[in-house]
Amino acid sequence: MEKRVRFRSAWLPWALLAPQLAIISIFFFWPAAQALLQSVQMQDAFGTSTEFIGLENFRRLFNDELYLYSFRVTAVFSLLVAGFGLIIALVLAVFADRAIRGASFYKTLMVWPYAVAPAVAGVLWLFMFAPSIGMVSFWLRAAGFDWNHLLNPDHAMALIVMAAVWKQISYNFLFFLAGLQSIPRSLIEAAAIDGAGPWRRFWTIVFPLLSPTTFFLLVINIVYAFFETFAIVDAATQGGPGRATTILVYKVYYDGFKGMDLGSSAAQSVVLMVIVITLTVVQFRYIEKRVQY
């Protein structure tokens, strides 16, 4: 049976697509083209003088040791966020899958952090961990651990990782739960009858069957860690102390909107775009091969 929809008229498909195309052009292609254009220009803040300078912005970026340091910070940050986000969500989904009583209660509790805006999440965690007034930092100090994310770069990184992971667990949890529930019970029962313990059952049956979901979530989490965590960093640490939590996207915002250097900011945007496109392509080409649909 022919699965494709056949349109008899020549213009109807385009008319139906037009709104979506319009939105994509205005909100994606146009700004992207503008970023590409601005990245090869040097402008003053008001745009009264524009000078074409070729790849000078890019050259200056890659000669700046602090920009290269931002790469490292972002790599560490996104690996931590994606790693913890996926592992914790998977564990919680496995538990929630087995719960019989109060299942919807647990699921609601798991899911609502996703509705919290990233900036609010950043402020929430900032308040809990504030060295002077935070409750958690108070308990940590009572336990002998001197928490100070204003001065200690590792503490600052831990803070934003916690806030970012907390937000993303809900999203991952939902998908993992759906994935788990789509695994036929008969497979698991058959393995149990054959004598496989729960650990073995998980690794040889459940996890491989979850691989499409895991792969999808990996892509989404990396993109999330690269871009959507901007508000958390801005609210919690503003890139400090020193440069310890200046992820790439935060530097784009800072150089462009606080520093008024739109050329450098656009160049960084372009670099970020290339990185994420490359990552996604790599993920689709190589890792997807291992995904078992």
């Binding site: 003053d44 002077s132 200690n152």
Partner: protein
């Protein structure tokens, strides 16, 4: 018949009414749009100023619009300018001064606006250190100082008493500050000394207070070729002292920008160098007796104490508007500069008055006697400025301040020595200045 007549007379009446209304709206007031960044109680102050002006005359109407924080409103104005939609008046913070000055075709100097509208403009009535920051080398005023604060020394009198210090004799020099901090720590105080806006208080104002250069070419007044000089032996010595204090737990770093401001009124920190504008918050929230004193200095430095540098913001006039709007702007600025308006603003907000007459008026009214400490900010500024103390005018200043934040944080964390941190700050800051120079090359 009657209905017909009624209908006709009703129509005639409404026609007459609309004509009359049309006639008055034809003499509509010229609207002046003022974008500012003052929220909360200060926002009410802004609205009251506009209302006072609007009520005093019929020709112009100032419409203040709150646009977010200082950098948010500056970004909004830049975007609006690029779209041809700029406001008439824009409040810009002091670190944005060089950016605004370099955008020569985007702004209209205030001096020009005032003289073109026929106002006699006499620079001598203004407090030198306040106005000098916003004046071009040739003496032309580029923007009108609006809410200027300066760096002062806040201290907790009750904590002083508990530590055995005299609450009416605050420390005046940095060695005295260290001694007081040691006594406070000995009496059990967890945070003897802190500071907010570290670049502004400990480097910029520190430099002008000691009549030392913060940057070459008279702190940038001499041109865009200025480069940072904040790693001189005096600055290094000061930061060595601060680093020692930090190691001994006498100086506690409480975060960037004004994050530390909350720690003084709450009683957490006993001494703090920060903005004079914190006075209102202290008066409202502090549950202890507090005092304001002058910024500490090193007594062995020749020329200290000179004057402190201002912070806050000024009002810039955007280019590209019609002459009648500029006339309205000039009238509004003249209203703002009136001694009674200035004095009222100063007493209400704690911000500095910009004219000597306003200072005199406030003094004669006994305000300073009733509110001790509120005159410290002014007396630190009413001095004849030198070339090195008039103010600071550097491009990309926002980034330079962040660089200073980043580098000095490494000192308190024990990761860099003061010399390394200051040298690194100078190197990175100079890159920013070079970029600014290149981006604005060929412009006056």
């Amino acid at each position: 018949m009657l209905r017909n007549t009624l209908a006709r007379s009703a129509a005639a009446a409404s026609l007459a009414l609309s004509l009359a209304l049309g006639a008055t709206s034809a003499q509509a007031q010229t609207e002046i749009h003022w974008w500012h960044a003052m929220g909360g109680a200060l926002g009410e102050w802004v609205n009251d100023l506009a209302k006072g002006f609007n009520d005093s005359q019929k020709e112009f109407k100032v419409v203040p619009v709150y646009k977010g924080t200082y950098d948010e409103s500056m970004t909004a104005a830049i975007a609006a300018f690029r779209a041809g939609n700029a406001p008439h008046i824009l409040q810009v913070f002091e670190v944005g001064t060089a950016t605004m000055m370099a955008a020569r075709s985007a702004i209209k100097p205030v001096g020009e606006v005032m003289t073109q509208a026929g106002f006699k403009f006499d620079p001598a009535v203004y407090i030198p250190a306040v106005v000098g920051y916003y004046t071009a080398p040739n003496g032309q005023m580029l923007s009108l100082p609006f809410n200027s604060s300066t760096t002062v020394f806040h201290y907790n009198k009750d904590a002083f008493k508990a530590a055995g210090l005299d609450p009416d004799k605050p420390p005046k020099t940095w060695p005295e500050v260290a001694l007081a901090a040691a006594k406070l720590k000995a009496s059990g105080h967890k945070c003897p000394f802190t500071t907010s806006w570290i670049s502004w208080t400990q480097l910029e104002s520190f430099s002008t207070w000691h009549n030392t250069l913060f940057a070459t070419l008279n702190n940038g007044f001499g041109g865009m070729g200025a480069r940072l000089a904040l790693n001189s032996p005096l600055h290094q010595r000061h930061f060595e002292n601060l680093a020692n204090m930090s190691k001994q737990g006498l100086f506690i770093y409480k975060g960037r920008n004004n994050a530390a401001d909350a720690t003084f009124p709450s009683g957490e920190c006993a001494m703090m160098t920060g903005s004079s504008g914190l006075y209102g918050a202290i008066r409202r929230n502090a549950k202890f007796a507090s005092g304001i004193s002058t910024l500490p200095y090193y007594p062995d430095v020749q020329g200290a104490p000179q004057n402190t540098v201002i912070g806050g913001a000024s009002l810039w006039v955007m280019a590209g508007h019609k002459p009648e709007h500029y006339k309205g702007v000039a009238n509004f600025f003249a209203y703002l500069s009136r001694p009674d308006v200035q004095a009222a603003s100063h007493q209400r907000t704690g911000y500095l008055p910009i004219t000597l007459a306003a200072f005199k008026q406030t003094e004669d009214a006994g305000f300073y006697a009733k509110n001790p400490g509120t005159d410290v900010a002014v007396t630190q500024m009413i001095r004849k400025t030198t070339d090195r103390s008039r103010g600071i005018r550097l491009g990309n200043f926002v980034q330079i301040r962040t660089i200073v934040d980043e580098e000095t944080e490494q000192i308190w964390a024990g990761k860099k020595t003061p010399k390394e941190a200051l040298d690194s700050a100078v190197r990175r800051g100079n890159e920013q200045l070079e970029r600014f120079e290149k981006a604005n090359a060929g412009k006056k």
